[in-house]
């Protein structure tokens, strides 16, 4: 990391990575007496795809939950856009431009695909209750404007045919895609993906990888993701944080991480003393 200039770097495939978008400083998270995360620091730069990996129970999901504001760490600071983030509710974090998907799909089962994706734009819809109740002028114009944006995402993720289908009826792989669509609809500055490829077959994984790269490429969205599939992680990401037992044991480009002895030990299973 030290070899990178303060204002960014250029990836192997020639993409320009910007300055620091989000920085975690000495984060410690406890549940009762149990430490889920111990003194972890890392940063996420504008435009990059950043992976967090580690064995089961390493604290990856907890880390993502800290970023999205669902857990508040006992120690440490979260910096976003060069400002220290005061402890805030998850919905306030969302309004700052952080969107996410979930490991165990968290879609709204009672609503159609279209409505689910439209919920991604709720933070941007401003008309008042009364105007909405009357469905006059502004409310309808706003609805249409946001619908147009959402339709672009629907086209982008190739889910036009299931627009009006209730989400509960969709197969697993499509649900994951709808969830990604909902997160994208928020036009996030930072997109968090919690195991976007868990439980998918090879073909679905390839589709999803393509979408992730496309999102990063076309919208310039910064992405932080957790993933178990090593091959996918190493292919996709620009830099990788490795966690084990709540501690950071490695951080760097995929190649650097692959050569890191601590990481190899963690994955091959060396006795902890």
């Amino acid at each position: 990391m030290n070899d990178m200039a303060q204002d960014g770097y250029t990836t192997a495939d020639g993409r320009k990575i910007g300055g620091v978008l989000m920085e975690m400083r000495n984060i410690t998270l406890r549940f009762g007496g149990v430490k889920a995360i111990t003194d972890i620091s890392f940063d996420i730069r504008e435009g990059e795809i950043r992976a967090i990996i580690g064995p089961n129970g390493a604290g990856k999901s907890s880390m993502l939950n800290v970023i999205s504001g669902f857990y508040v760490p006992q120690e440490g600071e979260v910096w976003f856009h060069g400002q220290r983030r005061a402890p805030m509710k998850p919905y306030e974090v969302a309004r700052q431009g952080i969107a996410r998907t979930f490991q165990n799909i968290a879609l709204f089962d009672g609503m159609s695909v279209l409505d689910n994706i439209m919920t991604g734009r709720l933070t941007m819809m401003k008309t008042g209750l009364f105007s909405q109740a009357l469905w006059w002028g502004r409310a309808q114009a706003e609805e249409t404007a946001h619908r147009e944006k959402v339709e672009r995402i629907i086209d982008f993720l190739e889910i036009q045919t299931i627009r009006k289908t209730p989400v509960g009826r969709l197969p697993y792989g499509l649900k994951k895609r709808v969830e990604l669509a909902r997160a994208l609809a928020a036009e996030p500055k930072l997109l968090l993906l919690d195991e976007p490829m868990a439980g998918m077959n090879v073909e679905e994984k390839e589709d999803m990888s393509r979408f992730i790269l496309d999102v990063n490429d076309e919208f310039g969205t910064t992405i932080a993701l957790i993933e178990h599939d090593m091959g996918v992680v190493m292919d996709l990401s620009d830099r990788v944080v490795v966690m084990d037992y709540g501690k950071k044991i490695g951080d760097g480009t995929p190649d650097q991480v692959r050569a890191n002895q601590a990481v190899i030990d963690a994955y091959l299973g060396v006795a902890h003393d």
Binding site: Y91, A94, G120, L122, A183, A186
Partner: protein, 358 residues
């Protein structure tokens, strides 16, 4: 054959998101409106207006309100009776304090006051969930009924402890009081129902409705994608109570005329409205109407068949009605948790393809 969407192309997003995307449905809807406004007032006799149509319209408003809270936002409430009482007493206090102002404004005012009370009792919903909240709303039910029963200011210190509606007019025609013609009361209720149902539809199809449904389906995920849960729940409580309050005001002023709070707005009322939305369909505007119609017609039907035709004693018929209602609730929850609205949707889906289902 006539009921299909093929050939009915939508070329704009507003067109695509309209309430009745199928032309046949649209025509049906206008036909029902026409029937309600132009035909029924002239053909209905007083018995049917008073025993069926007025209560149906009022309960439909209450059911719409409760459905917003329970069916759309997922917050179970057993306090509907208490909130209807707020509407009734607010309407009474307003109309006796300002007799010169039109009754329509009093009814709206009653709705707004009830919305405020609902907001207050909705505050705990941030911390209390599921049936804990349902039981907490019982606090509203029992407290409010007690309040109107025991504090004489609410019933203007009347000796009987009852409130009774003085005569009020709209466009010079009496709509409340002893001399009212049934069709006039019916028209007032109908106007309120149509406007409120239309507003409920607009709210539930737009951003607000999505917030409510997101909270209902998965509150934690909703919060993480940017929905402020307290705000969403409180708007649901307020809007729902607004509807329920108006229903209470109409129930008192137009339908009953005189009210004893424990009798008219007891816990049975809360359950009756809850049953309407379960049987009709949770999270459905149409379901609110279907459920209200069902629960209003059922006792009339039972009375017609058991008591009037078969000569059974009235109290026995009442007991059997309880059994039927209870059994129906269970049957609907088991067989069709989405209620009559879902049955209707399934029928329509079949109709769409009829007569060539393949």
């Amino acid at each position: 054959m006539f009921y299909r969407e093929a050939g009915d192309f939508k070329t704009s997003y507003p067109d695509d998101s309209q309430t009745f995307p199928i032309r046949f449905d649209r025509l049906g809807y206008y036909a029902v409106l026409l029937l309600g406004f132009v035909v029924l007032p002239f053909v209905l006799n007083d018995y049917w207006t008073n025993a069926v149509f007025i209560p149906f319209l009022i309960y439909a408003i209450a059911a719409l309100g409760l459905n917003i809270l329970v069916g759309y936002c997922g917050q179970l409430s057993l306090g509907t009776g208490g909130f209807m009482a707020v509407g009734a007493y607010a309407c009474y206090k307003l109309t006796t304090a300002f007799p010169d102002i039109n009754i329509v404004f009093h009814i709206l005012g009653a709705g707004i006051i009830t919305a405020g009370v609902g907001l207050l009792f909705g505050l705990p919903s941030l911390r209390i969930k599921g049936f804990y909240l349902a039981v907490a709303t019982l606090a509203a039910q029992f407290f409010l009924v007690w309040l109107f029963n025991r504090v004489p200011w609410f019933y203007n210190y009347s000796a009987s402890g009852q409130i009774s509606m003085p005569e009020r007019t709209v466009f010079g025609i009496a709509v409340t009081g002893a001399q009212v013609a049934p069709w006039a009361g019916y028209m007032v209720c109908l106007v309120f129902v149509v406007v409120l149902a239309w507003m409920a539809r607009n709210l539930t199809r737009g951003a607000t409705g999505r917030k409510w449904m997101a909270i209902r389906d998965m509150d934690i995920a909703a919060e993480i994608i940017g929905v402020n849960p307290l705000r969403a729940k409180l708007t649901a409580f307020a809007v729902s109570s607004f509807y329920v309050g108006i229903a209470g005001a109409l129930f008192f002023s137009v339908y009953l005329g005189a009210v004893e709070v424990g009798e008219a707005f007891g816990i049975e009322k809360s359950f009756a409205v809850l049953f309407m939305i379960i049987i009709g369909g949770l999270g459905s505007i149409f379901g609110s109407f279907a459920g209200a119609a069902f629960m209003v017609v059922l006792p009339v039907l039972i009375k017609l068949v058991l008591v009037d035709s078969w000569g059974w004693p009235t109290d026995l018929a009442a007991h059997i009605r309880l059994m039927i209602v209870g059994a129906l609730i269970i049957i609907f929850l088991i067989a069709e948790p989405h209620g009559m609205a879902q049955l209707w949707r399934v029928t329509k889906d079949k109709l769409r393809l009829w007569p060539f289902p393949h």
